[in-house]
């Protein structure tokens, strides 16, 4: 566990140097401990692949005012997190996401299949056959970075990103797969679309996916997709 300042209002806790499940479990465990017993002055935390950023209010950190708030916060964090074990993290949820693959909803499916000398059905079978892990949520509200993509489907990002990827598009970018919560520019290869809302600020919880979730995709027909979204 290495601590370093991230400006004058946050501490970066680095927990590993490679994206793997062991580092992820430690990130989850530290995150859970910070939720359960946050040191005074902590206002927010951002778990990521290898680290957790802990945001704090320097004026609210207790202790000796002759010592800089960062030093006091770093001490409090080291103390609070000293005995955290990677197996402390909470049980993972399994989230099942329906996807209508190919066609207008997944315009890159055929091309991606060709690149790997597979049929479109093979790609769907392989994509739905794996279980994915949400390592972190970043980039835009509710966007889950998922690992666990089978090697046969690893595909570089498109050479020219789209200016507008439709909301709920399911894509593959490098070794990761994910779902765009809302329309945005994006360079991932789009293989399908889900009728499920990934981010809805009026819903509680607003985001469908959180760090630590296990995810599976299952294939639905265009008719089923349309039936799930009668108004769109």
């Amino acid at each position: 566990m290495e601590l370093a300042p991230l400006g004058d209002r946050a501490v970066m806790i680095t927990l590993g140097h490679a994206i793997d499940e062991a580092t992820h479990r430690l990130v989850r465990a530290i995150s859970a401990r910070l939720d359960a017993s946050p040191p005074a002055g902590v206002v927010d935390q951002v778990p990521a692949f290898l680290s957790i950023a802990v945001h704090y209010d320097p004026a609210a950190v207790p202790g000796d005012s002759h010592i800089a708030p960062y030093e006091r916060m770093a001490d409090a964090l080291r103390h609070a997190l000293a005995d955290v074990r990677p197996d402390e993290s909470v049980a993972a949820r399994l989230v099942d996401i329906p996807v209508c693959y190919g066609g207008d909803l997944g315009p890159d499916l055929e091309d991606l299949a060709r690149q790997h000398e597979l049929s479109a059905d093979d790609v769907i079978r392989i994509h739905t056959g794996a279980e994915y892990l949400v390592y972190m949520v970043g980039f835009m509200p509710g966007f889950a970075y998922m690992g666990g993509l089978p090697e046969q489907l690893v595909t570089p990002r498109r050479s020219s990103p789209r200016t507008a990827v439709p909301a709920r598009s399911v894509g593959i970018g490098g070794e990761q797969t994910g779902v765009y919560p809302m329309e945005s520019p994006g360079g991932w290869n789009l293989i399908g679309r889900t009728p499920a809302e990934i981010f809805d600020p009026r819903r509680d919880p607003a985001t469908l996916l959180a760090a630590g979730d296990r995810v599976r995709f299952h294939s639905i027909s265009l008719a089923e997709y349309r039936a799930s979204r009668p108004n769109s």
Binding site: L6, G7, M12, D44, P58, P201, A211
Partner: protein, 333 residues
């Protein structure tokens, strides 16, 4: 009480101090770009410092007050006036029923804050009234104000009532407070300010030449700057080695260095995570100076220590407490 929007201006949004506790879902903190201006505007009208107010950019809105109101304007001087009479920045004012608040041309700075007693009472989304335009939530219907909008205000505090009683003249006409926010508390806005920068995770990896340029040149603000980030033209900076970084947390004030070599300063609406090298972190007390820069303005950087930046931050907090106490003593007497 309600306020009718006659004209929305260029980009006027409802903002408070942002969303706390949702960054793990990649929901940005958002909130006022110039936190000191927002907090002091609220102080002047007797609100809590984090109440929602309007953030006007470059071209301010035109607002019609159907009932009398206590209003304060802080931040950039956008030449506010009520029915032709100037409303100076850093002051509170009594706006009579039927009064219309208008803005003129910006001089130095680009963002003015308009606070009203009771605050702007729009629904909270993820614990905040701040407008997040990119995802269309928060604030007034998730978007900048436009003609025909009607803004509700909350219930005025006892403190606001005391302030109103003091400013309001016997004839209920427009009047400006005799007191204002102390000059020492007003950020020193300029068209070429120098801001303090705390070393970042990758500052040591800058080439000697790049480090010299970072502190030795003025960076010109690009027109593609916005509430998410400020971009700069001119000097290009390089690292001694190519870094492959994994996305991780960033903050308001993080200076990123994308492959183009032109730094980007992350601002209030920045993403919660980023994957570019971090060559510095702007001291939080100096963020208002950046928030007020217009395209074409320039910015200079100077390195400081974390301890010094935090000392300045604690001094600002003490000054804000004193300002509140000072206002309270003034109105009790």
């Amino acid at each position: 009480m309600t306020i009718r929007v006659v004209s929305g201006g260029l980009q006027t949004t409802v903002q408070d101090l942002g969303r706390i506790g949702h960054q793990r879902d990649a929901i940005p903190v958002g909130g006022a770009m110039d936190r000191v201006a927002l907090r002091t505007a609220n102080l002047l009208v007797g609100n809590s410092e984090g109440d929602a107010a309007l953030e006007a950019s470059l071209i301010g809105p035109t607002l019609a007050f159907e009932q009398a109101a206590i209003v304060a304007i802080t931040g950039a001087d956008l030449e506010a006036s009520v029915d032709g009479r100037p409303l100076p920045v850093w002051h509170a004012a009594h706006v009579p029923a039927g009064g219309t608040l208008r803005f003129g041309k910006p001089g130095i700075g680009c963002r003015a804050y308009v606070a009203m007693a009771g605050g702007i009472d729009v629904p909270k989304v993820f614990g905040s009234r701040s407008t997040y335009v990119r995802a269309n939530f928060g604030g007034y219907e998730g978007r900048p104000l436009r003609s025909g909008d009607v803004l509700p205000t909350g219930e005025a505090s006892d403190r606001s009532a005391r302030i109103a009683a003091e400013i309001r003249p016997a004839d209920n006409a427009f009047a400006v407070s005799r007191w204002s926010i102390a000059r020492s508390l007003r950020p020193r806005y300029g068209e070429e300010p120098t801001v303090d920068v705390i070393p970042g995770a990758h500052t040591e990896l800058l080439t000697a030449e790049a480090r010299g340029r970072l502190t030795g040149t003025a960076f010109r603000v690009s027109s593609s700057s916005d509430r998410m980030g400020y971009r700069f033209e001119g000097a290009s900076l390089a690292l001694r080695e190519r870094l492959e970084l994994k996305s991780e947390g960033v903050a308001f004030g993080t200076i990123q260095l994308p492959p183009s070599g032109s730094p980007i300063i992350l601002m209030a609406d920045c993403q919660t995570t980023g994957g570019y090298p971090r060559i510095g972190e702007v001291a939080s007390v100096d963020l208002p100076l950046i928030a007020q820069l217009k395209p074409g303005d320039r910015l200079r950087f100077r390195f400081t220590s974390l301890a010094e930046a935090q000392q300045r931050s604690l001094e600002l907090e003490r000054d804000l407490v004193q300002a509140r106490v000072g206002l309270d003593l003034h109105h009790v007497s």
